[in-house]
Symmetry: C2
C-alpha cells in the first residue's frame, strides 16, 4: 500500500463498495509507464466494462492515449457505451472504421444507436456497414425517429407471443433455436394484427402449469408509449409506475420495442444532473473536459451574470449622491441584495424541481405561488427585525434600521414571487426553466434590493 | 372542457403522457364538493396507486381531509407507500390502528418497513400487531438494521434454489404451491450452507431444456452487498452495473434479501433531489409542505447567509473612507463579488456532483483542482479586460479599470480554488458537501472580492 500514500484519499476510495479502487488505477498507470501490455490486460480484463470506462475517464489525456495505443484490441463496444459522451466521440474518431465495426458488432440495437447518433456521416456509415443487414435496418429505423424520442432509444430485441398461447407453447417457443434478447423479463402479448394487448411476467409463466393461457395470467395494467414520445417522459413513467420495461408502439399500436428500466434510470440520472448543472450556470460538461472546453462552457453564463451585475450597478449609480452623504448605505446594501438572491434561489430551485417531476401543475400552481410569497413575507419580516437591530446598533440610527428592514421585506417577497413565477412562465413559453431562471431571478432581486434600500434611504434619511 | 379554462395550463397538463390530468383533479374536487362518494370511487378506483397518491398531494389541506373522510375504505397500503413522507405520516396519524393494519397487510416487507420506520411507538406497534407472525418477524428484523442500510430497505421476498438443481426441478418447485414474491426476475443459487453463489435470469431458465443444471446457465458476474452497507451505494452499484436486483447477504454470506432496481431508481432520484435542494439552501421539504413548515426549513439557511453577508459588510466598512472619497467604488464593487460568487458556484456544483457520483476520486483530484483554478484564471482575465473597459468608459479613469480588472482575476481564481477545495475538504471531514459548501464558498468570494477591489483602490487610487 505504500505507493498509494501520495494519492489523497478523497472518499476512502480504497474501501469502496463497488467500482475501481485508487489502487487499481495506480497499478494500471504503472503498467502504462512500463509499457507492459500483459499487465494492462491482466488488470483490465477482469473488470466490468462500466469500471474500465470509469478508469479511462479518471486518467489524464496523455495516459489515456498511451493506454488506448497499448491495449487496442481490448476496447469493445460495451466499454464505448459506458464512456461519457465527449470521450466516446474522441475515441471513436481515433479508431479506424474496421476497428470501430469490430467493437460494435455485438451490441444491442439501442446501444448501437447511442454510439452512432452523433457521429459524422462517414463514421456512421462505417459502423452501419459493419452490422448484419437485419441489424442495420433496425438501427437505421431507430435513427429515423426524432432525437430524445422513445423510438430513438428503444431496444428492439424483445419477446412477444400471440395472446392465445399457453404457458407450454411459450416454453417450447423459448426453448427452440429462436434468437432471444440478452435480458428480458416480460413476454408481450399481441393480437393477430400484432397490436400489443398486455404482458406476462416470466415469473408467472414459470409458476403456472403448461396448459394455462397466457391471457389468463396477464398483468392487470398495461401501458404503452408511442415511438415519438419524449424518452424522458417514458423514463418518468417507468419510475412512477414501478415498471421494468415500457412497451413502445407505432401509430397502429403495434409493438416495435421496449425502453428498459436500466436505461430509464440512466436517463433520469442524466436529467437530474443536467438540471443541477444548468441551475448553477454550468450547462453541459463533464469532469473529463479540458481547461479550454470548460472555460468556454462557463463563459456565456458568466457573461450573462456580468450584464445583470452591471444593471444592478446602474441602479446603484442612480443613488451616488445618497451614498456619498451616508457611506453606511454602501456597507449595508449588499446584505439586502444577498438575502433576496438567496431567498429567490430557494423558491426557484423548488419550483424548477417540481416542474421537472410534474409535481407543479395547473392544479396547485396558485397555491404554490401564494405559499412562496407568504414564506418570503414571514422570513423577510423576521430578518427585517434582526437587520433593523443590527442597523441601529452598528450605525446608531433607528431610521437606518427601519429602511433596511423595509427593503428586506420588499425584496424577500419579490424573491418568492420571482423565484416561483419566472420558472413557471419560462416553462409555459417552452424555455427550459433550469437554464434561464437563475439569471432572471437574481437580476430581479439585485435590482429590487438596491432600489428599495437606496430609494427608501434617499426619501427617509436625507 | 369549459370548466378547465380557469386553471392555468402550466405544462400542457391535459395532454400528459402519463399521470393524472388536471381534468381528473377538477372532477374529483367537484365530487368532493358535492360529497358524492360514488363519483369519487368511480374516478379514483381505476387509477394506479401512484396516481392516487399524486392527486392527494396536489389538492389542498381542506380538500384532502374531506376526501379522506368521504373515501375512507379506499386508502390502501400501496397508496400510502407512494405518498410523500410528511403527508404519509400525517394521514397515518389520522387512521385508527385497525384501519392502518388493514391498509398494510398486503404490502411487501420492504414497503411495510418504509411505512413504519418513522412512526411513533404506539402506531408502529399497531401496524406490527396487524401482520402475520412470520411477516412481523421479518419487518422487525429489517428495522433492527441501521437507517439507510441495505438491510433496512431490502425486500426479503425472493426465490432461491440449490445450485445443483436443474431447470426442471426449478419449474416444478415454482409450480408447486410455494408462496412467490409478486415480482421476481432472478433465481439466486445457494450452496448447502445457504451461501449465495450466483444467479440465473428467468429468461435463461425458460429457454433451456428441463435437464440443464442451473449452475451451467448462471450469469458470469455476481455481486453481493452486505446488510449494513449504505443503501445509496447499493443503488449506485445497480445503476453502474445495470443490475435488476442486488442480492443482500449477512455476515456469513447467506442471502437475506434483495434491493430491487425500481427501489434503487427511487433512491437515486431522492438523492439527486436532496443534493439539488441542499445546494440551493432548501434542505428537506416538499411541495405539499405548508407555509409555516416551509418558512422554518428555509430560515436556518437564510440566517447563515445573513451572517456571511454581515461579514462581507464588515470588510466593506474597513474601507468607508475610501468609498466616501470615490463613490464609484460603491457602484462597481457588487460586480466583483457577484462574478466571483457565480464562478465559485459553478466550480462548486461540478465538484459536489462529481463527489456524489464518485467521479471525483483520489486519482484525479489534483487535476480537477488545477483545471478549475485555470478556468477561473482565464475567465477572470477575459472579464477583467471587459470590466476594465467598462470602468474606463463609465468613470473615465484608467486606473479604476485596472483595479477592477485585477480584483476580478484574483476573485475568480479564488472562486475556482474554493469552489473545488471546500467540498473536497468537507467530504473528507465527513460533512455532506452539498449541505455546507455554498455558504462557505460565497463567503470566501464576497470577502475576497470586496477586499481585493477596495484594498487595491485604496492603494492605487487614493
Amino acid at each position: 500500500m505504500t505507493d498509494d500514500q501520495t494519492i489523497p484519499d478523497v472518499a476512502d476510495a480504497d474501501d469502496e463498495a463497488f467500482g475501481i479502487t485508487d489502487r487499481v488505477v495506480s497499478d494500471v498507470l504503472q503498467a502504462i509507464d512500463d509499457r507492459n501490455v500483459e499487465d494492462i490486460s491482466a488488470l483490465l480484463e477482469p473488470l466490468h466494462p462500466a469500471d474500465i470506462a470509469h478508469l479511462i475517464e479518471l486518467i489524464d489525456d496523455r495516459q489515456r492515449r498511451e493506454l488506448l495505443t497499448l491495449w487496442k484490441g481490448g476496447l469493445d463496444g460495451e466499454i464505448l457505451s459506458e464512456l461519457d459522451e465527449r470521450l466516446r466521440e474522441e475515441i471513436i474518431a481515433s479508431l479506424a472504421p474496421a476497428e470501430l465495426a469490430d467493437a460494435v458488432r455485438d451490441l444491442d440495437s439501442d446501444d448501437v444507436v447511442d454510439l452512432v447518433e452523433y457521429l459524422d456521416e462517414e463514421q456512421q456509415e462505417a459502423v452501419l456497414d459493419a452490422l448484419d443487414p437485419g441489424d442495420r435496418v433496425v438501427v437505421e429505423q431507430s435513427l429515423s425517429y426524432p432525437e430524445e424520442s422513445a423510438g430513438r432509444h428503444m431496444q428492439v430485441e424483445l419477446v412477444r407471443a400471440p395472446e392465445h398461447w399457453t404457458v407450454g407453447d411459450t416454453i417450447d417457443f423459448l426453448r427452440s433455436d429462436v434468437v432471444l434478447p440478452d435480458q428480458f423479463y416480460h413476454i408481450i402479448l399481441v393480437d393477430p394484427r400484432l397490436k400489443a394487448v398486455g404482458y406476462v411476467t416470466l415469473g408467472r409463466v414459470l409458476s403456472h402449469p403448461r396448459g394455462t393461457k397466457l391471457r389468463d395470467i396477464m398483468e392487470d395494467t398495461f401501458r404503452t408509449f408511442h415511438v415519438e414520445q419524449d424518452v424522458e417522459e417514458v423514463a418518468q413513467a417507468i419510475n412512477h409506475y414501478h415498471m421494468i420495461t415500457a412497451p413502445v408502439v407505432d401509430d397502429d399500436d403495434r409493438i416495435v420495442g421496449v425502453i428498459t428500466i436500466d436505461d430509464a434510470m440512466a436517463f433520469l440520472e442524466e436529467e437530474a444532473e443536467e438540471d443541477l448543472l444548468r441551475l448553477a450556470g454550468v450547462g453541459e460538461g463533464s469532469l473529463s473536459d479540458r481547461v479550454i472546453e470548460t472555460t468556454k462552457q462557463r463563459l456565456p453564463w458568466l457573461a450573462v451574470n456580468l450584464f445583470t451585475a452591471i444593471m444592478a450597478s446602474l441602479v446603484i449609480s442612480l443613488f451616488e449622491g445618497t451614498i456619498s452623504s451616508l457611506v453606511a448605505l454602501a456597507v449595508l446594501m449588499p446584505i439586502v441584495a444577498s438575502m433576496g438572491g438567496n431567498a429567490g434561489t430557494q423558491s426557484l430551485t423548488v419550483a424548477v424541481r417540481a416542474l421537472a417531476t410534474r409535481d407543479l401543475t395547473g392544479s396547485n400552481v396558485w397555491r404554490v405561488i401564494r405559499r412562496e410569497v407568504l414564506v418570503g413575507l414571514i422570513n423577510g419580516m423576521l430578518f427585517a427585525v434582526v437587520m433593523g437591530i443590527v442597523g441601529v446598533v452598528w450605525f446608531g440610527s433607528p431610521m437606518l434600521g427601519i429602511v433596511i428592514g423595509c427593503a428586506m421585506v420588499i425584496n424577500m417577497v419579490v424573491a418568492g414571487l420571482a423565484g416561483t413565477g419566472v420558472p413557471i412562465v419560462l416553462e409555459r413559453m417552452g424555455v427550459d426553466p433550469a437554464l434561464a431562471s437563475g439569471a432572471f431571478v437574481t437580476t430581479v432581486t439585485d435590482i429590487v434590493g438596491f432600489f428599495a434600500f437606496l430609494g427608501l434611504a434617499a426619501i427617509w434619511l436625507l
